[in-house]
């Protein structure tokens, strides 16, 4: 299964047509796939809170939006999630590379990984963790759930899900 294609297909099937991204090595494939799709307007952001602002605007303009980012961004976006996305009740699927988990080569990434689920839990953000490739089968349901309940929803995708880091 090509998980980059599966994630992108599910976004398109759920009418997500506006996607902003802040890159991560693990996410390079899915970002490239999204960039190539005519059905999706892809706009890279310089920072994740900026991206959530773009998504909020796109949503109010009638487009379903999503953000793709690293889990380090949770540290950047708590205020935006609380006072924009949640306060105004806007749906936002957050496809997050879960750095600092099993098969992570960079020690510093673990420092935010240990806070990631606790922060999302504190924010009452529904959170799903993709560890095995088959977990992606849930993605379509998660998107439907997000747009049903008008909340930000986190999908944490770890290194094992993406197939590790090769020789690193």
């Amino acid at each position: 299964m090509n998980i980059d294609k599966k994630i992108t297909d599910d976004l398109v099937a759920n009418d997500v047509s506006f996607v902003t991204t802040v890159p991560c090595k693990q996410l390079a494939g899915v970002i490239e796939e999204i960039d190539q799709r005519d059905e999706i307007f892809h706009i890279p952001s310089n920072k994740e809170d900026e991206g959530m602002g773009l998504c909020a605007g796109a949503f109010m303009g009638g487009k379903r939006s999503a953000i793709i980012m690293q889990n380090t961004a949770i540290g950047v976006t708590i205020n935006t999630l609380a006072t924009l996305t949640q306060y105004y009740r806007m749906p936002l699927p957050m496809i997050i590379s879960y750095r600092g988990e099993l098969r992570e080569p960079v020690a510093c990434q673990v420092e935010m990984a240990v806070h990631t689920k606790a922060l999302l839990n504190q924010m009452n953000i529904p959170t799903y963790h993709f560890h095995w490739q088959k977990d992606v089968e849930e993605f379509d349901n998660i998107l439907k759930y997000t747009f049903m309940c008008n909340k930000p929803v986190a999908i944490l995708t770890d290194a094992n899900f993406w197939g590790g880091y090769g020789d690193q």
Binding site: F41, K47, E50, L54, A56, M60, G61, N79, Y87
Partner: protein, 184 residues
């Protein structure tokens, strides 16, 4: 002129357009001067007026005006390259540059010192950047809205605030009302 005087002057120009208004006093002032369903008031999240307005402009064809401040643009400086590189003609970013953080007690911003936001916007790649003095804003803003070119306006003015109440409208009501106006 101070910001509230500017907003009073441009209210008839922006009344029929989609407006995303900056957090704090700017939203409170606009709400008091000319509350419209086409106004999206930010109640939190300093810095994102330009991003919210830009996302909106990219997603539907009506003109959109983001009312921002120098302090808020400095908070979210990464917004300018994003706007420059994805330009859309229905978007106008109005930066009311009074050189201070008005809502928090008029502490000076760097835009009131050595940093020139007009130059910053140009350096970020924005093609049409107009610096204007407060009293001359009206016609510049009108032609920016009318034109097919995305425009960044840096409006230089005095710092200063008026006393006024907070917005008590529920955020979900603000959003719903605004989204209905977008669709209308």
């Amino acid at each position: 002129m101070i910001r509230s005087e500017i907003l009073k002057e441009i209210a008839p120009i922006i009344r029929d357009h989609l407006v995303v208004c900056n957090i704090g006093l700017p939203s409170q002032e606009l709400h008091m001067i000319d509350d419209q369903p086409t106004n999206f008031y930010m109640l939190g999240t300093m810095g994102l007026s330009s991003s919210i307005g830009f996302g909106l402009a990219l997603s539907q064809p009506k003109p959109v005006i983001s009312i921002d401040g120098d302090g808020s643009v400095l908070t979210n400086l990464g917004t300018l390259p994003t706007i420059a590189n994805n330009a859309t003609g229905n978007y106008t970013l109005l930066i009311i540059d009074n050189g201070s953080y008005g809502s928090t007690g008029d502490q000076p911003t760097y835009a009131g010192k050595k940093t020139n936001l007009t130059d910053v916007a140009r350096a970020c790649g924005c093609d049409t950047v107009i610096e204007v003095q407060d009293k001359d804003l009206g016609p510049v803003l009108q032609s920016a809205i009318d034109s097919d070119e995305m425009t960044i306006i840096v409006c230089k003015c005095d710092s200063g605030n008026i006393k006024l109440p907070v917005i008590t409208m529920d955020p979900v009501v603000i959003k719903h009302r605004f989204m209905e106006a977008v669709k209308a």
